[in-house]
Symmetry: C3
Subunit: 408 residues, 3 copies
């Protein structure tokens, strides 16, 4: 249970807030690469800030505050040239550093141009996603997490914009036992199937959490299993502050919860599918993007797939879950740990130090690999096949391609 | 004309408000029976409170505060077993009294379970509707109004969610003369027909209102008629506080205006259709539910049927009609009477007494029958046939069945 | 750059505000004539006021405050007879002066009727539009601007409701150089065409603004042109306070920006198309109305036509553009002039004088003609043909008819 002040400290992300300050030490995906052709711009929103991202004809990215300093029109509809992003209204052009380099209708002096600069932010691309950094300079390195770099795999990106705060989604990720009920019993009931038929419904004997360099390793031991099972021995990580690594065997995923503002989260499912050993994966020209639907035509939550159930619980908790009325119990100790970790990192940043997982050493950043179960919940291949049917992945445009590859 | 404070006292329905306290002495439909299969739950909202209603596999109903005390997820997406309603998130299970009886992931002590109780409310089913009672214990009896009990009839339930306060709808029900203009002249103009062709447009010679045990009997005498006509002699009742009885001959209806919150009303049209004397009605497996559409594609009100005209007047008065600017005249004396009655009943409740129509004697509650015109506005069968075309009933899924039955 | 107080003074239009007081000296279109058949009424909103406009069976127009003084129902759904507009609820009838002339259910005294009057406003019709005047009596004359009166032309009316304040749209109309970038380079980029192919993209050598009796004459000299070009010599007018005259050769338009409220503007494109000399125009039974779409299915602005680009800049500036953060430069001197003019006219009205362009002399009002370029941006016929493809006109229901007429 948190007081309203404690809750505000942990949840709110706007400029100048404590958590907004901490979260600004990290990079966040703001678009899929495939959404931003060369020469174009898009409006995006991150951590309560309105932005415009663009890609110039040579492929270089830029990220600027959205409103042109001249008359306030949206740079998100601008045209990107090699000089920079031109405001659609009068063509004032801003380079990737935010400097104004052209005012087509003016006799420009250096001083006039200088007055017209806009705030520029860091933006980079990796693995089919475009990432932004809004924090203090110098920017840390964009983390080269393993899935963004793997070769010889199929990838896709699912996405859903959710009307709730990011933290209640992250708390879900240090709550292993919800799987047993929500994805086991509850989902099976929705599908009209016996819950004993689902590996998700196996009872948790124990759960464990260990801090590691990049976050928290989550572990579970299921009834009939042992500490030598991957579920306990290996586990999978919450990568601080907004990413969860899930999957098993030949499917590996990040779930990235991007805080758009206090009450909006853009949820990304970033997936890698591995071909059978010794077989090549089909070559992808681009990493495709798809929307994950989560409401039906009547506006009710769709709870007939795993992630739909998750979304229902997150969103139904309220725009910002009211933690002054919660009742935490022993199986919620992962949540207690996460809040403590967030609070510690808030303190650390206030002392002027980098928080957890911020990377500034390129050597360390060649590739950052995470441990993840090979056999999950006691299953493997059949687990994957079923996941393609009952998770967000069933909406993927490459679903058939993935299934065909796995069948080989 | 009311002051803003007087208006607030009569209109606002949330917990702790004067009218909210009075209205909590009554039962309200919250769903049609057909909407809640065994084993399932639904989100509902009543008198400003968010709730979850469920039906267990043995058919028993439960009604609980919506948010799970654990982490706040919606119980309205829970699964109902014979033990009670299980939260979709972690399976915490609440019986119909609100007691927590299971926390699947915890070693539960009696004390832990006891801390986890949720507020439970009374819920019962009658005549194809599910009713809720949110008031003080002991709950009065769910009134067994005649239409809910009649045998050998066809039934249906129409419904529309309206963005306005309940009271302006109820005021319409003690305003007999609006029929003459709105449903007579105005509707005929919309239909491109001569208003003299409509029984609705007959001029009111006089109107009368009498308090009775359950509310107000409304009477009218139309031009060319007399006090011996059903319209005056019998009349029809406003059943305090939110129900109107209408119809005639072989069609009988309740219009129930359920206060969802201060600015939302769920309007139910509950209808019974009687077969010709000596003929049986077709057997219905369930009482069907249908939505009554009231806006067109451009967002304009649909005023081409009787109830669409009513809805236009109610909603266009504003979210809460501004009674500081109204101008009541002699034909509005039913409205003055209703406000006085509401005010008197507010006082009565504050003195600790049951308000009008609250029933605690089972003997009295075997069946509560209401008088209603047999011949209405001078017509009977042809009145009914026309009503099936120009009222909400034209959207009923059993419209053809009703017309066929009546033709026999 | 304006302070918040200065900005409020120039932008807000509600009753009692300084700008609302100034703007109430003028007439505004509220509907297209074709939208209001005889005998009917419509809801409209203007300058923050909710109104009902009607046309009686003899074709006479009336304009009243929207809510019936009796019970507050919308007169915008009333029926109009020769006596006046009847409230749909109880038939209280108001003549065009707002006097209540009937209360069908009451024994009416003259005194009772007198108490029931509603505020009436001036309304007139001209050239296929219905105009309203909400200001102080006596009303000035409805200006007989030339395009509303021309004979032997084809006409149409496009319309779009825009979620932004009127002033940022008007500022766009004293900003000639935006044409060069927005309608030249930016639009050509959207269309995938070379910007040098567009007459819009010719560079502005100089711009000029002259006050005249009815507003501001805008002038431009393009690169390669001279002061003897129509663009400079003739120019085109901003007709104070909310109208722009544009077009050239055989197409002539008013763009009228009607302030619905502080954050909503109804944009009208009123067009006249002239046949080739010596040829008759097809006869039109009515002036047709069409909606101009400006958002795509994803909710993004449509910037693939001239006016879609304009709308994107206006709306993306924000509901009320934040002029405390703008940076005006030399090419914005038209905007500075317009704000000064508005401020001067605000003062003039406060001194009890008529503001600019208010007409009270019928002799002067026979027809008010405005100068406008014949050759625009160096082009003429081919300019028109292209405009039919890349402007709002491409959505006109008479587009093919116009093109056929011009081809002759």
């Amino acid at each position: 249970m948190l007081s309203p002040a404690e809750q505000d400290r942990l949840t709110r992300v706007g400029p100048g807030t404590p958590m907004g300050t901490l979260l600004r030490y990290y990079w966040y995906p703001i678009l899929a690469s495939v959404e931003l052709p060369a020469g174009e711009a898009r409006e995006v929103r991150l951590l309560g800030e309105d932005l415009a991202v663009f890609r110039d004809p040579e492929g270089r990215l830029g990220l600027l505050a959205r409103h042109c300093p001249h008359r306030g029109a949206s740079l998100g509809y601008g045209v990107a040239s090699v000089e920079g992003l031109a405001c659609p209204y009068h063509g004032w052009t801003f380079d990737r550093s935010g400097a104004c380099v052209q005012m087509p209708a003016e006799n420009t002096s250096a001083r006039l141009l200088q007055r017209a600069g806009v705030t520029a932010y860091c933006v980079e691309e990796l693995g089919g996603l475009i990432f932004a950094y809004l924090g203090p300079a110098p920017a840390p390195l964009l983390p080269r997490y393993d899935l963004f770099l793997w070769e010889g795999v199929l990838r896709d990106v699912g996405r859903a914009q959710l009307p709730c705060n990011w933290l209640q989604i992250m708390e879900n990720s240090v709550d292993p036992v919800h799987v047993e009920y929500l994805h086991g019993h509850h989902l099976q009931a929705q599908l009209g199937q016996d819950s004993s038929a689902s590996p998700y419904s196996r009872r948790h004997e124990k759960i464990g959490f260990d801090l590691f360099e990049y976050g928290i390793i989550k572990r579970r031991q299921l009834v009939g299993g042992s500490e030598s099972d991957d579920d306990w021995r290996v586990g999978h990580p919450l990568i601080f502050p907004v990413t969860l690594r899930v999957g098993a065997h030949s499917q590996h995923r990040f779930q990235i919860r991007v805080p758009v503002d206090d009450i909006t989260t853009m949820h990304y499912w970033y997936s890698c599918y591995l071909p059978p050993p010794g077989k090549p994966a089909p070559v992808q020209a681009v990493v495709p993007l798809y929307e994950v639907p989560w409401r039906d035509e009547q506006g009710r939550f769709r709870v007939d797939f795993v992630d739909g159930g998750d979304i229902m619980t997150w969103v139904s908790q309220g725009a910002i879950a009211d933690r002054s009325r919660e009742m935490l119990v022993s199986s919620d100790r992962g949540i207690v740990l996460l809040r403590k970790l967030l609070s510690d990192e808030l303190d650390r940043v206030q002392r002027g130090k980098d928080p957890m997982g911020v990377i500034r050493d390129p050597e360390k950043n060649r590739i950052i690999s995470f441990a993840q179960e090979h056999n999950k919940l006691g299953g493997s291949v059949q687990f994957l096949r079923r996941a393609m049917d009952i998770s967000h992945a069933r909406f993927s445009p490459i679903r058939e391609q993935v299934l065909a590859m796995l069948k080989d």
